[in-house]
Symmetry: C2
Subunit: 346 residues, 2 copies
């Protein structure tokens, strides 16, 4: 009876839960059960951060993201630069050079104007650093108590520079998995402010544009099979999505994955796994093994990815799966995140 | 000292008010004082609903809008079809055929899944009618009490078809002002549900794609000087924005402006002026007088604009101003809306 009276159907619940925004299993269920069936009839769909369009003679990428991070201002960034960098990065992950962003604001009545000014100025600064213009915008205001300060949508279009298809479908057995630097800084920075925690040292968000690293890889002629920025759901969710679509097994070596001592300590204290913690300036790259060493050298030449390391590889398998070899040598399945580790991280 | 330490310019209040989202004077102040100074350094700016971009050999328009309408479902539509039609219309107003939309959702924890499904399906239907694919999306969830059911950002890109520049700067003395049909239905439909009012008859939102009408005008070879959809702030705010940028006087004849008897009665009852009430499927077009009759014929051939009428004209003036000649013959200035007539209308 308890099973029969369970209010949740097997896959989709009857109400929206915080976990539906977490970037893990519930988010994927929402997309599969509700959004794709509706929107697939209007468009070709792809399991990727951006859509590819043929416009005139050129190839464009288009991507959208709404930012609801709490608090609005945190060590290393604000919701404003997060909104610019996040969308720039989604374009970069498609191999596309950002050419224009839009900005849509939902402001809560009573928001201090100086908070808005601070956030808008950090958007300006991030846009200037990323060399991408904010070309159009929109502002809505909701009643006090019906929003939470500021929500920002940024949508971007970019010119696809990569000569080959970048996506999970291009991943091959034998590919190497490279990550661009240490994991978990953004998530722990947010958590430190939100919970009022102090760790052994300061932790700043890693929010940054990843386009310079991607551009350098493309200019070096490296054939990128797939890239993914490691935001909501962290490395584990990104790898699981890719493994599922590619129908391959991805293995990573826990000992090779860089995590700072402070972040590792904070994660141990809080019972978090850094492989699930969100980043806003880190990405994973899949290339053929023959290109791996050169790709790492190129990545290390860019400040945002100067901690690039080879952390794993891709193998044939009967279905998509991610496994991690732990420090003590055992293998375990690294599952997609279920529910929500830390709501409103971006 | 107080001036030196003041973080804000004089014109702007210290906190966000509902009126900052109303599409009238306060919205314009926010744009002029905060958004343009920051974002102008990242991009050329234009006082228009969309940005124009040169991509490859082609001209693209890009526009963004976030929808926070309350309630989510209302007579004649939902927040979903409003979000699709609104962004399609902003592209159409640039003379651009919509080619792709993105959809970014902010969902409130606890939202009934069936409400989401209803809204998503109405987006699908509107996208199919407008022949525009929804190519990419994003979902965020905020805690219960930190949102209001569903907010949706739609951003669109379109291929500019119009051969000439469409915008306030192309408006000339001698131009005629045509509106595409009766005004005020959307605003009064929302208000009727929100206030639980019943009027003499049912009023449905006019939400619809305006692209078929614009396409028909372009195919007929009519040189459109300017177009504007009459959303937040209604006809009066749209005309004021155009008059200000063009530096001309726009006159309209109140007796020629079509308003249904039910909407007129509701407005009288509620003390509203239909010239300030929001529409979601009506637009104003500026063309040379020589083209006016043919433009009206073309517009009347499309169901969404079959009530098109000539309501006014453009004259030389030392500064931008809008005047209305009332039914009894007097002239008055039709000012931009100050504050917020009806919050969260779109």
């Amino acid at each position: 009876m308890s099973i029969l009276s369970c209010p949740l159907p097997q896959r989709t619940s009857e109400r929206i839960l915080l976990g539906h925004g977490g970037g893990g299993r519930l988010t994927n269920q929402l997309i599969e059960d509700i959004f794709l069936p509706a929107f697939a009839s209007t468009a070709r769909h792809a399991h990727h951060d951006g859509a590819l369009l043929n416009v005139g003679g050129g190839r464009l990428a288009m991507t959208t993201d709404t930012y609801v991070v709490h608090p609005l201002i945190f060590p290393g960034g604000t919701i404003g630069d997060l909104a610019v960098n996040g969308t720039v990065n989604d374009l970069a992950m498609c191999g596309a050079q950002p050419i224009a962003l839009s900005a849509g604001f939902v402001l809560e009545e009573g928001l201090p104007m100086e908070t808005l000014v601070c956030v808008v100025n950090s958007m300006r600064d991030a846009a200037l650093v990323a060399h991408v213009p904010i070309v159009t915008g929109d502002t809505k205001v909701v009643d006090n108590g019906k929003g939470d300060g500021i929500f920002i949508n940024t949508t971007g279009i970019g010119r696809v520079i990569a000569p080959n298809v970048i996506g999970p479908e291009s991943v091959r057995a034998g590919d190497v998995v490279i990550i661009s630097g240490n994991l978990g800084d953004h998530g722990i920075a947010i958590l430190s402010v939100r919970a009022g925690l102090e760790f052994e040292g300061p932790v700043s968000s890693d929010t940054a544009s990843l386009w310079p690293s991607v551009e350098a890889l493309l200019e070096a002629g490296i054939e990128i099979h797939c890239m993914r920025d490691l935001t909501r759901g962290g490395l584990s969710s990104a790898l699981n999505e890719i493994a599922t679509v590619a129908g391959l097994r991805i293995t990573v070596e826990e000992a090779l994955i860089p995590v700072s001592d402070i972040v590792r300590g904070a994660c141990e204290l809080l019972g978090l796994d850094p492989l699930y913690v969100a980043n806003e300036g880190r990405f994973a790259i899949f290339v053929a093994e023959a290109d791996a060493e050169r790709a790492i050298t190129v990545l290390r030449g860019q400040s945002v990815s100067n901690g690039a390391v080879n952390v794993g590889a891709v193998h044939e398998h009967r279905s998509g799966i991610v496994t991690v070899r732990s420090r003590i040598g055992g293998n375990r399945v690294l599952d997609m995140m279920s529910g929500e580790q830390l709501p409103r991280i971006c």
